[in-house]
Symmetry: C2
Subunit: 311 residues, 2 copies
Amino acid sequence: MNIFNVNCQGIWYGGWGTDEKTVISVLGHRNATQRKLIREAYQELFHEDLVKRLEHELSGDFERAVYRWNLDPADRNAVLANVALRKESRDYRVIIELSCTLSPEELYAVKCAYQCRYKRSLEEDIASHTSSDLRNASSSILLLLVGLVSIHRYQGNEVDLKLGKSECKILRKAIEEKLYNHEDIIRIVTTRSKSQLMATLNSYKDEHGCNITKHLKDDSGNAYTETLRTTIRCISDPTKYFEKVVRNAIKKGGTNEDALTRVIVTRAEKDLKVIMEQYYKRNSVPLDQAVAKETSGHYKRFLLTLLGKEG
Amino acid sequence: MNIFNVNCQGIWYGGWGTDEKTVISVLGHRNATQRKLIREAYQELFHEDLVKRLEHELSGDFERAVYRWNLDPADRNAVLANVALRKESRDYRVIIELSCTLSPEELYAVKCAYQCRYKRSLEEDIASHTSSDLRNASSSILLLLVGLVSIHRYQGNEVDLKLGKSECKILRKAIEEKLYNHEDIIRIVTTRSKSQLMATLNSYKDEHGCNITKHLKDDSGNAYTETLRTTIRCISDPTKYFEKVVRNAIKKGGTNEDALTRVIVTRAEKDLKVIMEQYYKRNSVPLDQAVAKETSGHYKRFLLTLLGKEG
């Protein structure tokens, strides 16, 4: 019997509804590959799907966090995107985070997983949503999001500084004329490589003494410019971006458990440590302490385990 | 010495500039995998790149045809797209053919090959072209083409007939109001699965007694509706579409060798036989006879070899 079978026995004999600690201590300390092997071993031993079993046995924020954690990363992102798109007031941040922080290969895998689960493409579901606030907000939001998700961005480091300067001027002109949804803005933000886009944004900062996001903020209240700002922030500095998502999720009156879970679960095996450092730098309180203060029970213990601070 | 080394020797001893027949008879009868092995064997034996050598030794339409034939399919499509985009009067057909006839996996490989060769993304090059007739024609063309190339279409066969009917109405309304570049047309054509799109187009035909392409033709002369028509034709019936490209390439006064080569080379290992049948059905002349009549020399022999009629 290998280690993963032993893990399964641990979960099984832990007794559902009474010993969530076992679930936390076993699964919270396994990486994506190990979790997959545990799921496979569980299926083989008990002839049922561990993820479904946990979904049935656990509840609330704890259940949702464990469920997301147990999915393969690509599948998890597909689920997160679908949940966000089905909300009455759609949460574009999930779509932006996916498209701006994953590698083209990872993003491609998410799109395949999405199609496999929902029998439609992610792009199709973004573009065709007619309910809620979307059509009213602006079709530019759709264009931006579909572009971000679908376009296969070049990953190389080559930078054309002259092009950066000329596209900086195009951006500036559009913003001065308050043509925030100018097609060139969407083109530059969605199609240029990150290195090239950074060169353009740096040129903007050099020329105008502040980040383009500050100028976009002058038009805040407009859902499209908000989406554009979020996109540029997420591309420019993902760590800073995620720190802010977590900060807002914890501090604003009631905790936003969905956002908190999303950042911790999706970043745990990527850059969560750097986000924690950034959080401490910005708030002078360690993230785990802040999380411990605002959450409780098994959910709290699970998040702290993923933060590497308990269990 | 394996068969591919023997093939290389054959090409080598064939004597450049004098015995193109060897090139034709060896390479014209090998599939993509075999050609790749021949290239590798050639590199190993003679320490030079066979494709480059042939480019140097051959000339004109024959050289271009052999060059394209020898590239890996994904790489070949990347080259074809780049050549089309660099033309003063851009040939959108190449982009449409790529995006509407390749599987998502093949299209992804083309985009990777494009980035590898040109250090930019294909989407970026389509969207950022500011020269020539493009910006004047309509930014809708760009939106359509970038959407086609970038969006990962769902491949499943599930069809929602109700959705098909409702989107048929949307298309009809846009066309009646002469809003050919309405965002919904682009959304439906670029994001829906081919099966779903076919259901919508069939519903259009049932309701209005003719294909949507016929109604789009009423606005011919407009570069955008032309592009849209080509797209719908290429998605709806690729065989019929390619037959027409070949027919026009051969019959119109001077032969369009670029188009003729492109169809024969890119379809040879896919559906060229079906295109030939379609051609015969439509023109009452076998395609190889028509090609033989309009071409000459090594170029003619090479095309006929790919058509399976000589060598």
